[in-house]
Amino acid sequence: MGQKTPATLKPQLDAQNAPKLSPVARARVEKQRRFATGCWPREGIAYAMVQAPSRCSRTDLEEQDRALADCQKALREAQDRCAQLEADRVRLESILEGSQDAIWSWNTDGVVVRWNAAAKKLLGYAADEIVGQSLLKLVRPERWEAARAVMKSIRKGAWYGRYETVRVRKDGALVDVELTVSPIADTSGRIIGASTLCREISERKQFQASLTKRMSQLTSLVQFTERLQSASSLDAVFAAALDGIKSALGCDRASVLLFDGMGVMRFVASRGLSDAYRKAVDGHSPWAKDAKDPSPICVADIELSGEPESLKETVKAEGIRALAFIPLIADGRLIGKFMTYYPDPHTFSDEEIGLANTIARQLALAVAHQSAVEELRQSEERFRLMLEHAPVMIWMSDALGHCLHLNRMLREFWGVDEADIPSFDWRSTMHPEDAESIGESMASAVITRGPVTVRGRYLNAQGAYRVLQTNARPRFSSKGEFGGLIGVNVDVTEREEAEAALRESEERFRLAVEAAPSGMVMTDQDGRITLVNAQSERLFGYSREELIGQKIEAIVPPESEGSHPELQTAYFARPTARGMGLGRGLRARRKDGTEIPVEIGLSPFKTSQGVVALAAVVDISSRKQAEAERELLIAELNHRVKNTLSVVQSIAHQTFRGAEPMLAAQRAFEGRLIALASAHNLLTQLNWEHASLEQIAKVILNVTGDGSGRVRLSGPQILLPPKEALSFTMALHELCTNAMKYGALSNDAGHIDVGWTRSRYPRPRLDLVWRESGGPPVSRPSKGGFGSRLLERSLAFDLDGEVRLSFEPSGLVCSIHAPLPRERDIRQ
């Protein structure tokens, strides 16, 4: 503040200079004095000195003395006050100048009157450069109106405390300041100006601004995070991300890109980008898909970047000058990026980049999580569709056995709508006969929490019972709580029918095999016995249990055992129904080791286990024996016939060798042949076993035509073997013939006694006597004819006995003594 009295103050003082000091005037003087001692000490003192004489002239002396003394006193006081004031002024001046706050004062015209050092430092003006200048110099032109309004208010006594505004420095720069403007009044209270206390607040402003920004960023981040958490789809995640990026990073455009299945970076969401731009830069990535720890890339000004010109042009054409690539990393793997775009060059602060990374982490996490969720959802959907459309019936029940879920096929089976499942009672569809067993099995499965397999009939929507095979397993929650059963039903009606038919067919087959009159043996391709019937047990002497599972070689004779497997393999290579080993004299081995001749017919047939062979084994022992007997019989017959022919030949030989006339010889031959034939007849009737002596005799007597009863037979029954019987026949024939020709039967009076006895000791023997009587006189024939030769020689020869002919006068006597075979040797 200057040393001179301000020009504006003097007239005021002069105007107050009244000639007389009335009490009122004195009070006013006092007031002025006080004011002067406060603010304007020099003028106050001078005024007191000027006033003193005029007051003396108007009062008495005492009054004048007193007044003088008062004046002197006042002067002293004023002088003291002046000194005091001066000290105060100096102190205040130094305070003012030393203040860290800029302080200036100005008059009511808005002209700067005082300017301290801090003001110079703050606003650049020296005191002499600004004092006398308008305050408006410190104000931006656009704020002049406002500044004038403030000045006007100040003139009216308004007080402005600590308001923030901007002031213009000498160099034109703006400075954020906080002003306190106080009006200055003179002693009369008239406002004569104002003082301004100015404090720079740029730092605080900046701090506040950055705090606000930070708050806004954090708010954005929080909102972004909240939206991410509530996002139910990837699109919602991207939308939240774009909003968050824009508001947190203060960019007007943003985009999110992810690697697709082919490893190409593709736009998945964007804000404010043209289709053309997206198309042009789609697939562009500053990092490879497997890049390690990629860092954000910030392009402060595309114009100044090292990017290719074409890319620069594309970017600029989109109205982008600055952009940033922020990598999205999930589980340590680069999955994509997000982009921020700015229309002007943009310096990316560490803080921004940090914020971007934070957003990127959140976004990557959300994308990964949401992708997993969507994958799970898709997987669940696929599973649900699979379950729903599976070509089997699938169901799920709760822990009480009520239906929770039926898939389409099962719903269609029962004709149940999905909505009706909770009230559907599957038990009512069970066949009454099956209900109990199925119910028990299912209840047991629920109680024991175990798997269950049941088969039963259920009524379907068409009103037909179908056989369903159910396989169910318990299901448990992740906490291990039993949740009910999950099961699959398969319609096995046709299978069941086929099985029943097969069982029936197999049973029929088994019965047929069992009832077969031959031994039936079924073998598989390995030659193991799989089936036998009762006949087989009898045939082979093994029990059924012993045979089943055995190798077929067990019933093959040892000599064939080695070759059998080979033959069997060959058979299965070309299986046909045929007889086995025809003409090879097949034999089978019984358990006791004996062998039996068999005939085997083989039939191959296909079963589910492959081709098997069914062998029909017939025991041909008895047939073989019969064949052997027949052969023996034929041989014997042949022998006998030939023997007989030989005998005939010898009869002819003997008959025709003699000297008898041909006619007689011929008759004798015929008679002998007929006798032979008769004996044959007799023996054949008796099966060629034996013939009794009496039978033989009667036959011969018949043959020779003598039934007159002149031949008497007497003796016990004696059975003769065929050969002896034949010999006796021929001998008796010769005796008869002889008797009829020459002996007892040649006349009408003779007769013959034939008697025989049997003696047992020492050996069985027969003694037979042929005694003729009453015939013509007998003489011994001159020459031994065939008859006597046959009797004496052949009969003895044949019987290994003795035959004696004695020609007694009364008639011929023939005695025959022959050993007899023991009776037991004769076949009875």
Binding site: V641, L645, S646, V648, S650, H653
Partner: protein, 127 residues
């Protein structure tokens, strides 16, 4: 002269008339018939005791096999033929033995016996 002249031939045949005829035929061939006999015992006796050049044997003698006689004859290296109605039924059992089938003729007796005699003359014959 006949090849069988003077040959001593044993005949064992249990059928008397056949034996008779055989004897006749052999006699006419000039052979000396030893027997004929109709039992095994007699056959054996003659086979052992008589000097023999050959034998004509029925296979079955009263239901018994002629084998014991055969053994004796073989031991004595006397050739023999079987006269049988069984045809070649016993051929398999007695390989190398001449079979004279019944009914026989004189010629066949002759041939059979000559064959048998001839075989004995050859080394290694009549096993």
């Amino acid at each position: 002269m006949n090849a069988l002249s003077g040959k001593r031939v044993l005949v064992v045949e249990d059928e008397a008339m056949i034996a008779d005829m055989a004897e006749d035929m052999l006699s006419q061939l000039g052979a000396v018939v030893i027997g004929p006999v109709g039992t095994l015992a007699k056959g054996l006796e003659l086979a052992r005791s008589e000097v023999l050049d050959a034998a004509m044997l029925d296979v079955n003698i009263r239901s018994e096999r002629i084998d014991p006689v055969v053994e004796v004859l073989r031991a004595r290296a006397v050739p023999f033929v079987f006269a049988t109605g069984y045809g070649d039924a016993i051929g398999a059992a007695m390989a190398g033995v001449d079979i004279l089938e019944k009914p026989f003729t004189q010629d066949r007796i002759k041939n059979a016996l000559l064959n048998a005699l001839q075989r004995r003359a050859q080394p290694g014959g009549q096993a």
